[in-house]
Homo-oligomer: 268 residues x 2
Amino acid sequence: MNNTDAIGIFDSGVGGLTVASAIHSLLPKESFIYFGDTRHAPYGDKSKSTILDYSRRISRFLKASNCKAIVIACNSASASAFKELEQDFPDIPILNVVDPVVTEVSSLGAKKVGLIATRATVRSQVYLERIRHLDSNAEVVQIATPLLAPLIEEGFSGTKVSQGALEHYLDDERLANLSHLILGCTHYPLLQAEIESFFGSEVQVLNSANLVAEALKDLLLHKGLLNQEPMEKASMRFFVSEKTEAFRDTAKLFFGQEIQLEEKLLPA
Amino acid sequence: MNNTDAIGIFDSGVGGLTVASAIHSLLPKESFIYFGDTRHAPYGDKSKSTILDYSRRISRFLKASNCKAIVIACNSASASAFKELEQDFPDIPILNVVDPVVTEVSSLGAKKVGLIATRATVRSQVYLERIRHLDSNAEVVQIATPLLAPLIEEGFSGTKVSQGALEHYLDDERLANLSHLILGCTHYPLLQAEIESFFGSEVQVLNSANLVAEALKDLLLHKGLLNQEPMEKASMRFFVSEKTEAFRDTAKLFFGQEIQLEEKLLPA
C-alpha cells in the first residue's frame, strides 16, 4: 500500500458526495475514487443482507483499484456492513460515517440527542447503540424521515416542500428539549440551515461529513499514508453502477462542482 | 390455460396496487397474484435494460404460477419491457398500463394532452409515440414529476408538501390550455383530486387503473378466460421480492384494504 494510492469512497448514490467534498476540501492532495451504486439506489429501505451484498461487491472493486482506505459514505451501509467489511478486508483501513459523529456527540457531553435518518438507519439502531456504549446516560431519540433524501435530490431544498416535510417530521414531541441533533444521512447537510432555523440556537446540529474527513486525516497520518505529492497530481474519479439523469443533475449540488461520470458494473 | 387460473399483476413496488384494486373491483370473481419488486424499487430512474431484466424474471415467476394473463401495472416497465415480454411469452396475453389510456384519450379527440410521469416513462416517449400513432395531430406535452411517487408513498398526499410539489411541477407554461392530463404513474391516482383542483374543470384528468381493468375484462371475455366460479373461490396473493416497512405501511393506502405479504426472491 502506497501513500499516493487513492482513497475509496462509496454510497448508494449521490449523498456520499457531501462526504467526498469535505474530504477533498480538507485533504486536497489526496486522490480518490468515488463509487455511487445508482443501479441499486436507494439503500434506505433495503434489508441488511441486501445492503451487505452490495457493499462487499463495491469494496472488492475499490480494493482491486488499489485504494489505501475505504470510506463508507452512506449511513445505511455504515449500519449494515461496517463490521463485515472490516473482517473481509483486514488489510485496508475502513471508516464509516457513524463513529466520528458518535465520538463527537459523546465528547460534547450531549444530554438528549436526536437522530433523523432513513428507515434502514433508524431500524439498525446503530447510533443509539454506539452513543449508549460511550455514554450510558445519554437519551437518544430516533426519527425516520424518509422523504427528505428524495426531496433534496429533486432540488426541493429551501422550498415550501422541504418546509412542509421538516415541519411534519420535526414537530414531534419526542424531539422536545434536544441538546444535539445528528443528521444521520449524507444528504441532509443540504437542509442543515433549514433544520437549524427550525430548532433555533438551543439545538446544535451535527453532520458527519466534516467529522469523517477529520477522522480520515488522523487515520492516514497515524498509518503514514498521507500523500506528500503536490496537489496537482491528485486525481478524482467518479464511478456509478448506472448513469442516471438524477445523478448527473444533482451531483453538482452535492459535490459543489461539475464532475465526469464513468459507468462500472459491480463485480458479481 | 384455465379460466380459474389467476391473473398476474406486477410493479416495482406498491403503485400497481391501484391497478390491482381496480381489477378486483371490476372482476371480483378473478383470482390474482401480485408481485411488487421492492428489492429493486423504484424503477423510475433505471435504464431500459435493467427494467427489462427484472420484468422478464417477474414474468417467469408469474408464468410458473400458471397465470392466465399478465398485467404490467407499472409505467416504467410498460414503456421498457412490453414488446419484449410479448415476444418472450407468446402464450400469455399481456396488458400494459399505457395502451388503454392512450386509446381512451384518442377516442375522446383530445387536442392538447399533458403527461406527468417518472423520468423513465418520460424518457421512453411511449405515451408521446403511441398517442401520435393514433392521432398525428394531437399535441403532447411531457413533464417528469419525480418527487410525486415518493411523497405519495410517504403519506404526504393532501398536505403542504404535495401542494408545493404540484405547484412546482404543474405551474409550467408548457401545460397551458390542456384539454386532457394523463397520470402516467400508478401512484398518481392518490393525488388525482388535488391535481383536478389545481387545473379546474377545463382539464380532464385520466388515470389508467380503471381503463386497464376494463381492457382486461374485454380481453378475458374475448379469449373465453373469464372466471365463472363463485366469488368466494377467488384468491388474492401478494408477493414482494423483499418485505419492507414502506410496503407494509402503504399497501393499505394503495389497495384500499389490509393485505398479507409473502416474500419471494426473483428467479435468476
